[in-house]
């Protein structure tokens, strides 16, 4: 399975976790993060539309994955991200990391998420009854990069 995938199709996060965990060999620790389309404050989210920069996206994700692997000595890492129109409750994306000890797997997954959030070319648009609006970038997401 390609460790970096960008796809329109839905995915099964449990099946992905199992597939990932069978390939990690001597690793004792597996961490996963899944992002799920959720209701915004208003509570009437109808859909989430995700645009991306085909071509740049996979390149950016592969670079982030390679950096995480090297930096935290991971035995494996995967990134999966959807684009297109998603319904509330749909999984948007997922990362998973594997390492001998848990601290590296946790740090690797957080690193992947921090970079993916602010450095991978995806843009989210929330569709509600009152219209559609692009999600604003959060300052915390940009700030999160400074810790690495």
């Amino acid at each position: 399975m390609d460790p970096v995938r960008v796809q329109e199709a839905p995915f099964d996060m449990g099946a992905e976790l199992n597939a990932f965990a069978t390939t990690v060999g001597g690793a004792g620790a597996v961490v996963s993060f899944s992002g799920i389309t959720r209701d915004v404050a208003s509570g009437d989210l109808q859909a989430m539309e995700i645009e991306h920069y085909a071509g740049m996206t996979e390149k950016a994700l592969e670079r982030i994955r390679a950096e995480a692997m090297a930096r935290f000595g991971l035995t494996d890492a995967m990134i999966l991200h959807r684009y297109g129109r998603l319904a509330p409750g749909d999984p948007i994306m997922m990362v998973a990391t594997a390492s001998r000890h848990r601290a590296d797997a946790f740090a690797g997954a957080e690193f992947l998420m921090d970079y993916l959030k602010s450095r991978a070319p995806f843009w989210k648009k929330e569709v509600t009854r009152s219209g559609a609006e692009w999600v604003a970038a959060r300052d915390e997401d940009e700030d999160a990069l400074s810790r690495w």
């Binding site: 991978a120 995806f122 692009w134």
Partner: protein
Amino acid sequence: MKLDIRYFAWLRERLGTGHETVETDAGTVAELIEELRGRDEGYAHAFSDTGAIRAAVDEDLVEFDADISRAREVAFFPPMTGG
């Protein structure tokens, strides 16, 4: 030189296009932005707050002082919101 320019998210919507090919002598991303701004009010407005815009040259994220003299494609977009 001929340059492909791509726009994403609200920048694409505001400009009404996701892709165009331009003839330009701009040497950097910043110079290209200046050129685009000079085109018409729509472009001037879309590029008014460059703090809210990011750029990529040939699919790599860059700063605005990046050299584009040998670039094939430049992309402009708002801060990313994936994950």
